[in-house]
Symmetry: C2
Subunit: 350 residues, 2 copies
Amino acid sequence: MTQDQERPQELTDISSLGEFGLIEHLTRDIQLRNPETLAGVGDDAAVIDNGPLATIVTKDLLVEGVHFDMVYTPLKHLGYKAIAVNLSDVYAMNAHPKQVFVGMAVSSRYSLEALEELYSGMKLACERYNVDMAGGDTTTSPAGLMLSITAVGQAEKEQIVYRSGARANDLLYVSGNLGGAYCGLLVLQREKQEFKANPQMQPKIKDYSYVLERQLKPEPRKDIIEMLQQAGVQPTSMIDVSDGLASDVLHICKHSGTGVNIYEEKLPLDQRMAQTAHEFNIDPTTCALSGGEDYELLFTISQNDYEKVKDLEAIHPIGHITEAAQGRNLFTSSGQLVKITAQGWDSMKK
Amino acid sequence: MTQDQERPQELTDISSLGEFGLIEHLTRDIQLRNPETLAGVGDDAAVIDNGPLATIVTKDLLVEGVHFDMVYTPLKHLGYKAIAVNLSDVYAMNAHPKQVFVGMAVSSRYSLEALEELYSGMKLACERYNVDMAGGDTTTSPAGLMLSITAVGQAEKEQIVYRSGARANDLLYVSGNLGGAYCGLLVLQREKQEFKANPQMQPKIKDYSYVLERQLKPEPRKDIIEMLQQAGVQPTSMIDVSDGLASDVLHICKHSGTGVNIYEEKLPLDQRMAQTAHEFNIDPTTCALSGGEDYELLFTISQNDYEKVKDLEAIHPIGHITEAAQGRNLFTSSGQLVKITAQGWDSMKK
């Protein structure tokens, strides 16, 4: 009746699988039973058939000490980001979020006023993206704060864009710029160390406002979805850049059964990000490839649609899809060919 | 940039509000923006309009050390129960669950084999209730295990039963029997204490298999939903008994703006539950009123439907709805009138 809380040596350490490996292992034998379940585990969100319209469902957990550090995360920003990253998953299906559901486990260390701050950020994001906070669950936690957000969206079935639709010769685009959120995190972590060493110090964050905003207050790219729709272009595949460009483009390649060529010189790098990266002695391209949390949209379009998007300034062509046999390659500015490997953020491997 | 982790005295302790008070406080100013959001915070589940069909969404958090104790909870049972209690919320809307989404935050103390056990229980529940595990999110946790389950269901709009539909003179019914799950918990807690005192002891649980099963492996009452449908009866209001009969009937009264009379002698008490309660010197009626976690269905029907259900053995009339001014009353077997107050389980107040 009792269970041994110690883990004997012959059992398998979950960190050996990583986050993606673990979920893949645990869900590998799942068979979908209901015809309404059009897509399950494995994309940005699940898709449920409801006649002409489909319902999109996605969920994300945010755990204190894993996904955020209360020392440098204002609660209002945390609330905003918790909603924003889930909406981003819905937009990445080319769908529109309509409702969010908030699960919160919170320790008694948090005051009501602190939770009001947190909720004010969540409500602000809901207001800005015209989404209803339609339910949830609140409970106590033995330690810390944990948020579990479920976002529900809607789309016409034929509008939905999966990770699996990329085909050889499709063009690969990314919105905005990459690497900024990671540089913001580096600045915050440095400030935390300096604050620990000298609690009287004033934070030196004025010069870093751009990268800090990228980290603390990401905006899901609803505007890109709308822009492409107005241009009459439906992406063939899409994902949001949450784990890092390298990791996320590999998701597209894996689900689509393709290769990819990406060109370093085409990666959209903001000057303020590059400056911060240099300060930390990190290659800005590394930040863009592996940093994660930029919540930009990474998508492919048919070459036939090139003319329709070539003047859109918010999106950038960074490469193209190839046959699987060609591999997944980065062509560096110095002319080298590098295999793309997932170095993205994985909470299991921290 | 930094936040004070200590809570100054002038801030409000969240435990002073309790779980329901907290969620009500934090969500009191929410305005629904989308016409598709038919019902938000405040019922067993939210309801989303999708044309002729509606989508039902509910979520629940299960936190180690709050909702379950790994010392006496087999992981397979925990997985089964985590799914079952969410399906119960969907049935309580008179809808059919179709998909579940599993969020899991887990510490490295858990082995892959332990998580396989957990998932085997979740998959078993999905199989038994014909539900797809359609997605989720897995991450690491600094300590312990936390499950966040979202269940999604479907119903024709006019079939959905809310908490708010009870009217004076409606009859109040409950399925199955009450109090067993709480008695099972008492047995498990006693065994834990005895095991701590003497780790060599053999658990004495053979005589308690019924109440232990009520606690460890609740079954959502899909059968009751189907039975009522076959009988041609649609409840006027419904809720599942998760917090305890007293707390849950007050939810119906509050949302419907009514009073209620319940008769102690009509409460369905299983003999095995009563025997265990006596052993712990607790009144079986107290277990039934305040125990919680039975996951039976509590519902009201119009008096006109009485003939259609009077021969159904799985459901029991326990009272009737009154005007709000009559109050919410329990008539005891000894003829006393007692005001019903919520003594149910509230994780915030533990």
